[in-house]
Amino acid sequence: MRDKSLFKFLTIGLLALWLGIFVLIPNLMIVVTSFLQRSEEHFVDVLFTVENYRKLFDPVYFGVFAHSTLLALVATLLCLLIGYPFAYRLARLTTRWRPVLLVLVIIPFWTNSLIRTYAIKTILATKGLLNTVLLALGLIDAPLRLLYTSSAVTVGMVYVLLPFMILPLYAVIEKLDSSQIEAASDLGASRLQAFIRVVIPLTLPGIIAGSLLVFLPALGMFYIADLLGGAKDLLIGNFIKNQFLDARDWPFGSAASVTMTLAMAVILLAYYRSIRRLNSGGI
């Protein structure tokens, strides 16, 4: 009995210690810092203030938040529209190559996303691949200005985050019992009706999980905005990064992080609720 309690104690102790030091304390530090004042010498002065939060509602900063949220929403929607039919097809394939095809979705990650974003930059450049092809096909007369636009940032986000949408969708669609769809058509539902009334509700947990995994990181991907959007397309991520590394205003950056985390918590809570309702609803 003694080796059991020792093993248990050591492992759980180590995990708790790790999470305490590297998750709990740092996050508490952000919360505390967000209520302190900025200092030129020591990063922060220990003086309580809510000024940092008030400043967030300044139209200049609030605009950044709104714009970043909008971009993230568009990217999430695009990922869903592209990813759902793809995941559905992949999960329903009967070939023995299915595991390989699934791995092919993950392999791009072995190339660092910054390098891949840089590759997109070369494709979208004025003299890049896309313009060259379009000119050669005679679809356009002069090169388009694709880079340094909101669309370029959105494309970059969709590109980097698409697998995060596909994988959870694949997981739920694969578990889908095809007899349930057959039952729906047996009861007179058309293919579209069966899809809307049966398939979508059953795969909703995957849709929500995938959307969260795209939406939340999309708020913070400052390097995509840096590379593809130039300076004007600020995301919340760029804003926080600038406060910490350039403006050296830790309290203000912390306040932005806390707000973002709180928004995330609200979304997650709604997600949990909907999952629980789905489970107890018996569908």
């Binding site: 995990l15 030091i21 998750v23 530090m29 072995w110 660092n112 891949r116 890049g128 590394l245 912390s254």
Partner: protein
């Protein structure tokens, strides 16, 4: 016709996922310095890559961090998953909640929170801070992967092992670990991938004393990326791909 459209769409998504990488590979063999027009096949960027030790060193550092962080995160994560699966203890729910929050919280928040921690603790930003950060963001993924594999098994299996005379340690080594092994391997691979792919956390928690590849490239972007980067990216993409393909072929032949 519908089938043709479906398959076409399927391929199009793969093309979208691989196009940037294919472009990188193609440019790496292009003699042109600016990569916009094809000026003939050349290996000169590969040659100059190996003269550019800064870039190669950064890539090697990235791989070292990825290997170490994946291995340590997998070790700690597997043990933790086993404990979370085996034992009921006070605070178990709190640990679960923390892990969930970690998986969901945006990278940028984790990045600045760790930056503040390291500065307050006077940890110099470099190898150690980077390693600790990478282990931390990989940990929940390993735990969830291993835990969900274990929870797919009948808990009576552990009781059966105890019943047949296996103590706590032997139950772990002979039953739980072999059962969890595929998930442990998947957890390692996932951690490795996350580490290699990460930009945001690394950007905040490492310093000039330990520069890894994405940060090196990030700093190069403003000044114009050298074509050697394409050659490096090609190598980093093709070598593991070749490795995986070979192992797959060997595995299939063995069967």
């Amino acid at each position: 016709m519908a089938r043709w459209i479906r398959n076409g769409y399927f391929l199009l998504v793969y093309l979208f996922l691989y196009l940037p990488i294919l472009v990188l590979i193609a440019t790496s063999f292009n003699a042109s310095k600016y990569g916009t027009s094809w000026q003939g096949f050349s290996l000169k960027w590969y040659a100059s890559l190996f003269d550019n030790s800064l870039l190669v060193d950064a890539a090697i550092r990235s791989l070292i961090i990825a290997t170490l962080s994946a291995t340590l995160a997998t070790a700690l994560g597997t043990l933790s998953a086993v404990c979370l699966y085996r034992y009921r203890f006070a605070g178990r729910q709190v640990l679960n909640a923390l892990l969930f929050v970690m998986m969901m919280s945006p990278d940028i928040v984790m990045a600045i929170s760790l930056l503040m921690l390291f500065i307050v603790l006077h940890v110099q930003l470099g190898f150690w801070s980077l390693l600790l950060a990478h282990i931390t963001f990989s940990l929940p993924f390993v735990i969830i992967t291993v835990y969900s594999r274990l929870s797919g098994f009948d808990t009576r299996i552990i009781e059966a092992a105890r019943d047949l005379g296996a103590g706590e340690l032997r139950t772990f080594l002979r039953i739980l670990l072999p059962l969890a092994l595929p998930a442990v391997a998947a957890g390692w691979l996932l951690s490795f991938t996350l580490s290699v792919d990460d930009v945001i956390v690394s950007f905040f928690v490492t310093g000039p004393s330990f520069e890894i590849l994405p940060l090196k490239i990030y700093s190069m972007v403003r000044l114009g990326v050298k074509p050697e980067v394409n050659a490096l990216a090609t190598i980093l993409f093709l070598v593991p791909l070749l490795f995986v393909t070979l192992s797959q072929i060997l595995l299939r032949r063995k069967k």
